[in-house]
């Protein structure tokens, strides 16, 4: 890394739908690179020193919360953990994540989408007794391997990269997408969830569900948490095909 600090060129999508007459456009900002600089650091630098109206979302800035997914040089990824040094020519083009309602500039409403997804797949343990559990007594036992497998799928941070990388979602606006499949697979695996395959079929057994997937697997390619989307979609599809 160069100590002198090269000049980075950020080409950034700007548009504020709240502002009357504002038009979508690309704006270029120059930032002096610092050692270990991430896109998070660079964007804040632009906001603080060049344009205080610049909108984007970060929360944990550590790759944990999933707030900051955007398109960086054509690929959806988490901006907070993307080092500017990754880009040899120092040119970085940033676009908001497609497939979500635009709030402004690089900020999109993933929250609204994800809440709707959770409601659609009923992203909770279905067990009438769960609320009646006697928490003074020993917890129900679980096979240690099963617990680990559930955690593996639970690592999703709802960043939306899979949704933006999904070609099926482009063609079918109501397509559930990988984030929904992996969530459902997580509950299907969980012995605490008492739903039957027939009940899962009601949620994903159609073309907006697992049968609509064209298997282009942008989800698998771009998931920042390396979740096994391919395997899970195949698993759900087989499981659902066996229902009827």
């Amino acid at each position: 890394m160069n100590d002198q600090g090269r000049i980075l060129k950020f080409q950034v999508f700007r548009y504020n739908p709240q502002k009357k007459g504002d038009k979508p456009r690309m704006v270029t900002y120059e930032v002096t690179e610092a050692p270990g600089m991430t896109v998070f650091i660079a964007l804040n630098d632009i906001r603080e020193h060049q344009d205080p109206s610049f909108q984007f979302d970060f929360v944990c800035r550590a790759g944990i919360c999933g707030s900051c997914a955007m398109i960086i040089n054509g690929q959806p990824t988490l901006a907070c953990r993307t080092l500017t040094s990754t880009y040899e020519n120092g040119e970085i083009k940033l676009l908001p994540l497609p497939g979500f309602e635009l709030i402004g500039d690089l900020s999109v409403n993933t929250g609204k989408f994800m809440r709707a997804m959770s409601e659609r797949v009923e992203s909770w343990i279905h067990d009438a007794d769960a609320d009646e559990v006697d928490f003074h007594r020993l917890e129900e036992r679980m096979d240690p391997d099963v617990a680990d497998q559930i955690y593996e799928l639970e690592r999703c941070v709802e960043c939306g990269c899979c949704v933006s990388a999904c070609a099926t979602k482009r063609m079918r606006p109501d397509f559930l997408s990988a984030v929904g499949f992996v969530r459902l697979a997580r509950y299907a695996l969980d012995p605490r969830d008492k739903r039957s395959d027939e009940e899962f079929y009601e949620i994903i057994g159609d073309d907006d569900g697992v049968f609509g997937c064209m298997t282009l697997l942008g989800c698998e390619d771009y998931c920042p948490k390396d979740l096994p989307h391919q395997t899970q979609i195949a698993y759900l599809r087989r499981k659902m095909a066996l229902v009827r």
Binding site: T38, L83, S118, I125, P144, V157
Partner: protein, 656 residues
């Protein structure tokens, strides 16, 4: 004027806020959660290592119970905590974790038979009992006698928050996202909700409620380098302070975590050391045993952070362009363990440092991490001075942490406080009505509108980003791990100047809707006030207790300082807050002040300490047949909702 009515308004959508909302809904109380961000993105998700609860299922947790957890928590707090609250907490934590297990958290489980672990730098084989197989596993953490920290790999906060938010979604609890509370609405000493700004449209909305709970997390972003998320700016604390009625407790109690990576300050969990990781200096020498021969790397956080700083001051730090640091070595844990139980840490090292911690040392340094201080509440979670205002989690000074929080006790507090405080919030909503005139609501609405208008119309003035950076630098330089009068006096004076300057902020982007500069302009004056509370409280507390460490007053002084700092800001035009103190009553302590067992014990004792010790001895002598529950009831009777009063079962021990 847009007004939204509810019974239980919760500000903050992290673990504590969601749990309070769930308790409200379970009791049939209408509730709305306000959040700056989607709830699942809250800073609770960043908790890696786990949650303390004395389940005692694994072999190294054998013999654990509420009493041991209680003693660890009180010692950890350097006797600064409220022992009634700490007791209510430890007794409820096992229930909280079991409820979360039923709600979907995939806690790592005990596997019967042999497994290899690293303890004190050596490989050791442990054998888990067959009858514990499948129960919730625990790992070792700093300042604890037993392995008590339950975990899911190093994503405990994430899985807990997901289970909690999913539960809230199941119950149909509305979370109003991208909403920021600007001020509390109150009249005659009673709180009735908040004036709230929509961060997208800029619209101001009055949320009017019977009970208002603040669960907005800590104030780590008062410091330039912190492990905290960018939304951990203490605004919930500030709006309570700005009522002039609610009090903040122990604001000077700020924790520094030993192992955040350099330079960005992202956390690597205490689980790294709990699982056997070591701290090394520039010569790759393991120095902690020299300072703390007994607990070594697993001394309490405040102790380890101070020892690391001392060691670097001796010239043993690794020099770097970002200043000195030390090394965290987890190589000895092996790839399999790291990839299974420390995978977030591994990802963070790969992405932010470009190293593989299986093979390379991790550069770390003590970094601001946790706010023990917050909105002062009584044991029910309600402000003792502003009725109808509740607080839970890191935003509160419910006060189970005193002057130093144990690792694994923060996510545990969020959930346990959410359960307990949530019940009292529901009780309050059942017993009270909204008796507030529209005129009062309008008064608060107009006041906030006026402030925003003034910001939008001022032509020249201060830059809010600049003010914030200056404040953060003052806090880093002068209100850090080691403190002294000269530095603190300087900080207090400089912050006063910033406070004045913050009254003349002008914007470059003068629009009232979605506008990050306006958000900053609204928050920064509030943050500066909080920074003043921290710095001034630290200056006046002339002793060292827990994370508050004074070089000029190195002794813990129970004689003069066994008390909680209370801060108010009654006169908005004043340039300093007002500080008063509330005594901790030694004669009511279940565990009278003693030594924490670190370094030299140079405590100035409280005159009541010996008296209370004798009283406890006599009570035990006079009740030879009393079991531990009966003794606790005599020594430390607690306020807790009936549904949480039952005893907790443990494997091999039943309910004893």
């Amino acid at each position: 004027m847009k007004v939204i009515y509810t019974d239980s308004l919760v500000i903050g959508g992290g673990l504590a806020g969601l749990r309070v909302a769930i308790a409200s809904m379970q009791r049939g109380v209408d509730t709305i959660v306000l959040s700056l961000i989607p709830a699942k993105r809250s800073h609770s998700a960043a908790a890696q290592g786990g949650m303390q609860a004395s389940l005692g299922a694994c072999v190294k947790g054998d013999g654990d119970d509420e009493d041991v957890h209680f003693a660890d928590t009180v010692k950890g707090s350097d006797w600064g905590c409220d022992q009634h609250v700490a007791r209510a907490f430890v007794n409820t934590a096992p229930k909280a974790i079991r409820q979360l297990a039923a709600w979907g958290v995939p806690w790592s489980r005990v596997r019967q038979g042999d497994h290899e672990v690293v303890i004190n730098g050596k490989k050791v084989t442990l054998t888990e009992k067959a009858d514990s197989h499948g129960l919730i596993m625990a790992r070792d953490f700093g300042g604890t006698k037993k392995w008590r920290t339950c975990f899911t790999s190093d994503g405990a906060g994430h899985t807990m928050l997901y289970a909690m938010d999913n539960k809230a979604i199941q119950m149909g609890i509305p979370v109003h996202e991208r909403k920021e509370a600007l001020a509390l609405i109150h009249e005659d000493g009673v709180c009735y909700g908040a004036i709230v700004r929509d961060l997208i449209t800029g619209e101001l909305i009055a949320y009017v409620a019977k009970a208002t709970t603040i669960a907005t997390g800590g104030y780590g972003r008062l410091y330039a380098i912190t492990t905290n998320s960018v939304v951990s700016e203490g605004i919930g604390n500030a709006i309570a302070l700005e009522t002039g009625i609610a009090t903040l407790g122990n604001m000077e109690a700020v924790q520094f975590h030993p192992t955040a990576i350099v330079p960005v300050g992202i956390l690597t969990t205490e689980g790294c050391r709990g699982d056997g990781g070591l701290l090394l200096d520039k010569d790759e020498y393991r120095f902690m045993p020299d300072y703390e021969p007994e607990k070594k790397e697993l001394a309490s956080r405040d102790v380890v952070s101070r020892r690391m700083t001392e060691h670097m001051r001796k010239g043993k730090g690794v020099p770097s362009r970002y200043g000195d640091h030390l090394w965290l070595d987890i190589r000895l844990l092996g790839r399999k363990h790291i990839e299974k139980n420390l995978r977030e840490v591994k990802e963070i090292c790969e992405y932010f440092l470009g190293i593989d911690p299986v093979e390379a040392l991790i550069p770390v340094r003590p970094t601001q991490h946790y706010s023990m201080g917050g909105i002062r509440t009584n044991a029910t979670g309600e402000s003792p001075t502003l009725q109808g205002l509740f607080a839970a989690g890191e935003a509160a000074c419910w006060d189970m942490h005193g002057f130093n929080r144990l690792g694994g006790n923060s996510v545990a507090e969020t959930v346990v406080a959410g359960m307990i405080v949530g019940e009292y919030v529901a009780d309050y909503c059942g017993a009270n009505a909204v008796n507030i005139s529209t005129t009062t609501i309008q008064h608060f609405m107009k006041r906030e509108e006026k402030k925003i208008t003034a910001l939008l119309f001022r032509d020249f003035g201060e830059n809010p980003f600049q003010l914030k950076a200056e404040m953060q630098k003052i806090m880093m330089d002068d209100v850090g791990i080691f403190r002294n009068a000269a530095d603190l006096e300087k900080a207090v004076e400089e912050l006063k100047v910033l406070n004045q300057r913050a009254k003349r902020i002008a914007l470059r982007n003068r629009i009232s809707s979605s506008n990050p500069e306006l958000v900053e302009a609204i928050r920064v004056p509030k943050m500066i006030k909080l920074a003043q509370c921290v710095a001034y409280g630290a200056l006046l507390r002339t002793e060292s207790r827990g994370a508050h460490s004074r070089e000029d007053y190195p002794e813990r002084n129970d004689r003069d300082w066994l008390k909680r700092t209370l801060t108010t800001w009654t006169d908005a035009s004043a340039d300093l807050p007002e500080l008063t103190y509330e005594d901790l009553d030694v004669m009511k302590m279940e565990l009278p002040p003693g030594s924490r067992g670190y370094g030299v014990d140079n405590t100035f004792h409280h005159p009541d300490t010996a008296k209370r010790e004798q009283e406890i001895e006599a009570l035990k002598r006079d009740n030879p047949g009393a079991d531990r529950f009966e003794l606790q009831e005599m020594l430390n009777p607690i306020t807790i909702p009936d549904k949480f009063k039952g005893k907790n079962e443990r494997i091999g021990r039943g309910f004893k």
